[in-house]
C-alpha cells in the first residue's frame, strides 16, 4: 500500500512541509545529504530522517519510495530536483509529485508528466504585483 510521504531536501521548505505532514499524523521520511539539515525539524517531528544522496536510486528504495503516495522534492539544486522528479514519475510511478524549481524556465521539461511544480520566483512576483495593486 502506498502510504508514505517522502521529502527530499531538508531545507526551510522541505523541513516545514515535513513537520506539517508529521503533525497531521502522516508517515513521513526526510532525506538530506547533510546531517545538520535535520536541525531544522521541530522536536515534535515523528518521522524518519535519512542521511544520504537521494540521486542514488538504492537510497530512494531504502526510503520506501515504492510505497510512497507523495514525494516532495526541494533540494537546493534545480537539476537535481528535475532529475529526481523524472525518477519519481517514470521509474517509481509515485502518484503525487511536487517539485520546487528556482528557475521557472526549467519547468518546461515537466510538460506531459504528472508532476506539480512550485516556483518561488513566480510566487514572489505575483505577491509583489498584488501588493502594488493594493497600494494604488
Amino acid at each position: 500500500m502506498r502510504n508514505k510521504v517522502l521529502i527530499i531536501g531538508c531545507g526551510r521548505l522541505g523541513a516545514n512541509i515535513a513537520a506539517l505532514a508529521s503533525e497531521k499524523g502522516q508517515n513521513v521520511l526526510v532525506i538530506d545529504r547533510n546531517e545538520n539539515a535535520f536541525d531544522r525539524l521541530p522536536e515534535s517531528f515523528a518521522g524518519y530522517k535519512i542521511n544520504g544522496d537521494a540521486t542514488d536510486l538504492s537510497l530512494l528504495e531504502e526510503a520506501y519510495i515504492r510505497t510512497a503516495k507523495e514525494v516532495v522534492i526541494a533540494t537546493g539544486d534545480d537539476n537535481v530536483n528535475l532529475f529526481l522528479a523524472h525518477v519519481a514519475c517514470v521509474i517509481f510511478e509515485v502518484p503525487s509529485i511536487y517539485v520546487r524549481l528556482d528557475d521557472p524556465e526549467r519547468g518546461s521539461l515537466l510538460n506531459g508528466l504528472k508532476i506539480k511544480a512550485i516556483y518561488p520566483f513566480e510566487l514572489s512576483i505575483n505577491k509583489f504585483n498584488l501588493m502594488k495593486g493594493e497600494d494604488l
Binding site: T55, D56, S58, N79, V90, S108, L109
Partner: protein, 220 residues
C-alpha cells in the same frame, strides 16, 4: 554534421581536436570562462560561455537541430538536464551523456537519454570479460551489450583448423563475420577454409559467447 560539445575539460579538448577540420560543424559550450579561453587559444574554435542546461545558452550557441550533443560536465544531474533540454526542445538527434556514478547508466537510459558513458562502468565490464575468457581473446560489446564481437586466433591444434566453414557445424546465434589473414581481410562463405593463424572475428549474443569460444578452441 553538427556536433555540440557541452562542458568538460581535457576530454572536451580531445574531442574538439579530433573533429576539428573534418568538415564538421562544431558547437562548443563551456561554463568555465578560463577553460573556454584556453580552447579558443589552443584549438582556434569559438566557444560559447554558459551553462548548457539553460535554454538561452543552447539557443544562442546554435544547438538547434544538431546531430549529436555530448555532455561532459562534472555533475551527472547537470549533464542529464542539458541532454533532456537539447533533446526535448532543440530537436537534437542523439544525446551522449557522461556520468561519474556508474549506477546512473541504467537510470539515465530508462529516462530516455540515448547513450550514457561511465568510465567505471566500462572498466567493470572489461574486467568482467577479461576475467571470464582467456587472454588470447578480445571482446567488444555493442548495442548496450546485446551483441558481442569476439576475436580469436586459430591455433593449428584446433579441430576447425584447415576445415571448410560449411563442414564444421558452427554454433547457432553466432557467425564468423570476418577473417583476418595477414595482410588480407576475408568475408567468409561456406567454402572458405579456416587456416592456422587466422584471426576470426565472431559476432554473437553474450549468452552464446562462451559456447562459441569453447567450440573454436576444441582441439583435435
Amino acid at each position: 554534421m553538427k556536433i555540440v560539445i557541452a562542458n568538460g575539460k581535457h576530454e572536451a579538448d580531445f574531442i574538439i581536436n579530433m573533429f576539428k577540420g573534418q568538415n564538421k560543424d562544431l558547437v562548443v559550450i563551456n561554463s568555465d570562462k578560463n577553460f573556454a579561453d584556453y580552447i579558443v587559444r589552443s584549438s582556434k574554435v569559438p566557444v560559447f560561455v554558459g551553462e548548457p542546461y539553460k535554454r538561452f545558452v543552447l539557443e544562442d550557441s546554435g544547438t538547434r537541430d544538431a546531430d549529436i550533443f555530448i555532455a561532459l560536465g562534472e555533475k551527472d544531474t547537470d549533464n542529464y538536464a542539458a541532454c533532456m533540454l537539447a533533446k526535448k526542445e532543440f530537436n537534437v538527434k542523439k544525446c551522449i551523456c557522461t556520468v561519474t556514478n556508474p549506477k546512473n547508466v541504467d537510470t539515465f537510459r530508462k529516462l530516455g537519454i540515448d547513450s550514457i558513458i561511465s568510465s567505471t562502468y566500462l572498466l567493470a565490464n572489461s574486467i568482467k570479460t577479461a576475467s571470464s575468457l582467456e587472454d588470447v581473446i578480445q571482446t567488444l560489446s555493442i548495442e548496450e551489450d546485446k551483441i558481442v564481437l569476439t576475436e580469436i586466433i586459430i591455433n593449428p591444434t584446433y579441430k576447425i583448423a584447415n576445415q571448410k566453414i560449411m563442414d564444421i557445424n558452427f554454433p547457432k546465434n553466432a557467425t564468423i563475420s570476418c577473417i583476418y589473414r595477414e595482410p588480407h581481410v576475408i568475408i567468409p562463405n561456406g567454402s572458405t577454409i579456416i587456416l592456422p593463424k587466422d584471426k576470426l572475428v565472431v559476432i554473437s549474443t553474450p549468452v552464446e559467447q562462451e559456447k562459441v569460444v569453447k567450440f573454436i578452441q576444441t582441439t583435435k
